[in-house]
Subunit: 96 residues, 10 copies
Amino acid sequence: MLFHVRMDVNIPLDMDAAVAAEIKAREKAYSQGLQRSGKWRHIWRLAGEYANYSVFDVDSNQELHDILTELPLYPYMRISVQPLCRHPSSIREDDR
Amino acid sequence: MLFHVRMDVNIPLDMDAAVAAEIKAREKAYSQGLQRSGKWRHIWRLAGEYANYSVFDVDSNQELHDILTELPLYPYMRISVQPLCRHPSSIREDDR
Amino acid sequence: MLFHVRMDVNIPLDMDAAVAAEIKAREKAYSQGLQRSGKWRHIWRLAGEYANYSVFDVDSNQELHDILTELPLYPYMRISVQPLCRHPSSIREDDR
Amino acid sequence: MLFHVRMDVNIPLDMDAAVAAEIKAREKAYSQGLQRSGKWRHIWRLAGEYANYSVFDVDSNQELHDILTELPLYPYMRISVQPLCRHPSSIREDDR
Amino acid sequence: MLFHVRMDVNIPLDMDAAVAAEIKAREKAYSQGLQRSGKWRHIWRLAGEYANYSVFDVDSNQELHDILTELPLYPYMRISVQPLCRHPSSIREDDR
Amino acid sequence: MLFHVRMDVNIPLDMDAAVAAEIKAREKAYSQGLQRSGKWRHIWRLAGEYANYSVFDVDSNQELHDILTELPLYPYMRISVQPLCRHPSSIREDDR
Amino acid sequence: MLFHVRMDVNIPLDMDAAVAAEIKAREKAYSQGLQRSGKWRHIWRLAGEYANYSVFDVDSNQELHDILTELPLYPYMRISVQPLCRHPSSIREDDR
Amino acid sequence: MLFHVRMDVNIPLDMDAAVAAEIKAREKAYSQGLQRSGKWRHIWRLAGEYANYSVFDVDSNQELHDILTELPLYPYMRISVQPLCRHPSSIREDDR
Amino acid sequence: MLFHVRMDVNIPLDMDAAVAAEIKAREKAYSQGLQRSGKWRHIWRLAGEYANYSVFDVDSNQELHDILTELPLYPYMRISVQPLCRHPSSIREDDR
Amino acid sequence: MLFHVRMDVNIPLDMDAAVAAEIKAREKAYSQGLQRSGKWRHIWRLAGEYANYSVFDVDSNQELHDILTELPLYPYMRISVQPLCRHPSSIREDDR
């Protein structure tokens, strides 16, 4: 089941650079693990912004919530979620 | 080069049903042709709304504009466009 | 799986009264059938507005979309959808 | 008498973790007491957000206000309230 | 129990003048009856706008909803409702 | 001459509790003095929010401005003002 | 007593040109009469828009309301009103 | 050439009172100098708000920008600018 | 003197195609005349939208207003204007 | 390929003046290098605001993103991006 998620990241300007780097490294590893498992189907950067559009493929709203709230950058994010369906004009069965 | 597009469709309530059906059939054929060519990479329905999120893979802003304005439903759509980049955390080279 | 849905109804002022009454009667029957089946868990009127907050319990985003777009009043509605999870402070297991 | 309430929680990033944990524990106990008494009829988490939709069943606007302003997390919340009525299509008398 | 209500009136420009006058006359009589009964505590015009702020004193959300939806101008109004409480600094017991 | 005023109070989370209590006590005394003089005709709490709707009866815009800017909580408030008139449907001459 | 007013005019596209011209001529005469009497202190066009900012000098909210609602173009206007005071830095006594 | 400017002032709550007083004194002197020169044609306080509407009469956009950015309170202001024209209904040639 | 203008075009869906074509032809000729004269410095289409961003170089607000309101498509446009200055980092003197 | 970019700068009020001056000097040098290379086609100041409209001419969304995120002032900016096309009414081939 697919969900469209927009994440806007807003790290405080006075966060220690080493701390920020460590959180971002954990974020990247966490994201890539979920991408490899197929849960995090797509992630794109919005040009010019510290933000992404992502598509998740999960079994339930609860699973989506757990994945998002465990993001290392979650405390610094504003998140909006939109449930998706396969589009009737889609030629692909798995963009369900 | 990828672009995120949201399309909200608003067909007038008094449009003749046969006319509407004909336009939607042309829209579907047009969309599927572009999906098969690889230009229209993804299309998802927003649950509960007559709207979609799409991702296009085009060579230029101009090509995107031409594709969108030739949509049979274009006169009834509100469209917003967001240029995308490959995300540095993506594990896939082609989600560029 | 639960979803919070807000529906705002906007029937054209010039719709024939008998036509409107017939659509509303079908809407009520359709809604009550889904309530009896357990799919439409709650429906409340917003005081002073022609609008409702509802909670649906469905198996997927697609099932929610199908239920909503088959509403007899759907062409006259503006709809917004929010996926829900069981709250960690809830004392009830079935408000999942 | 029912009220729909949305609560968005925004705990300062620099709050001491032990202090935050203690406030959240009191919040949970307070909420569960009100749920058991029947005053707090429903509480759901919004997927991906530190926010909830709740439905309260109280005797007056004043009782609702008192309950909300005594929430341990109240100083960190943005709250919006919407009075509800039983929907004429509801099949349940007690969703009044 | 008090509620703050804002009503914005938007009568279609092409409504027959005699029809409009008749609806407004019924609106006035209906409003004044409710004012005399004490249910409609206050009504003020917003300077320069076809809109009012009103304060209602009713027994329940349902009674407020019934009063508002029976307004002769209701089909032409946009309404927003805000439940009120007696303010702790108020010197008057009956502004409850 | 009547004015509708909405005041939203936002005291900094780190203000010393004794300081806050002292400011609120002065605010209450100031408000009650103006209520007794008839300048501050109504004050209601918005259920669930640290905000009020008030109605002032003053001789001029300037008098309203002076009253508002001398509120002890003024530095912590967001204020919006709307001039009112007696409504043509009002049954009361003094809700002018 | 001064008020700042913004008026946005939106004449229906299908209004008969002669009717529109007649309404505009009456609007101009009405406005100029009020300017000559000193009630309508200033009127400026917003560059590029069919809208104006005006400053009125009236004795009461009610007088302002009466002036505005008698504008020949009033049925086609969206209006917003802001009460003004003399600014403490003003060098002119009569910009009160 | 006239410009309509809205300035909203937001001085930090923790600014030293003497510093604030000194900045405001410089602001007042600066404003009054420009009023005397005819560049700053009008300034009005918005009732209840720490904000003003002003009208400037300058030779160019650049001159307006220079005047505004040299305001002693500029770092604490949110500013919006609207170019004006003489209104065709104005009876005054110099409200150009 | 430069101005940034956004124009959104919204031609009624039921306008006769020949009428629309004639208006658009006049619009194009009018725009190109102003581009050749140097008044209309830039015009760009927003990808996917029936809208443009333009930059005008005019002697006054009034000249800008006259140019815009004489656009053949003006009755179908929503327009917003922003006065510009030469940027202190610009390497070009004539982007004044 | 052209992009319209709006940048709003918001440097913290308490930033050390020498630090701010150094960042701005680097920003200016960086911007002028890109202007000389032709990548940053236009930059204009919005009158009265610490903001600019710019037009970039880049080969891809990615190149635009890289240019923007390397701006020395980027951490203090809010940025919005709009892809542009040559307008069909443009008389210039290179405003593509």
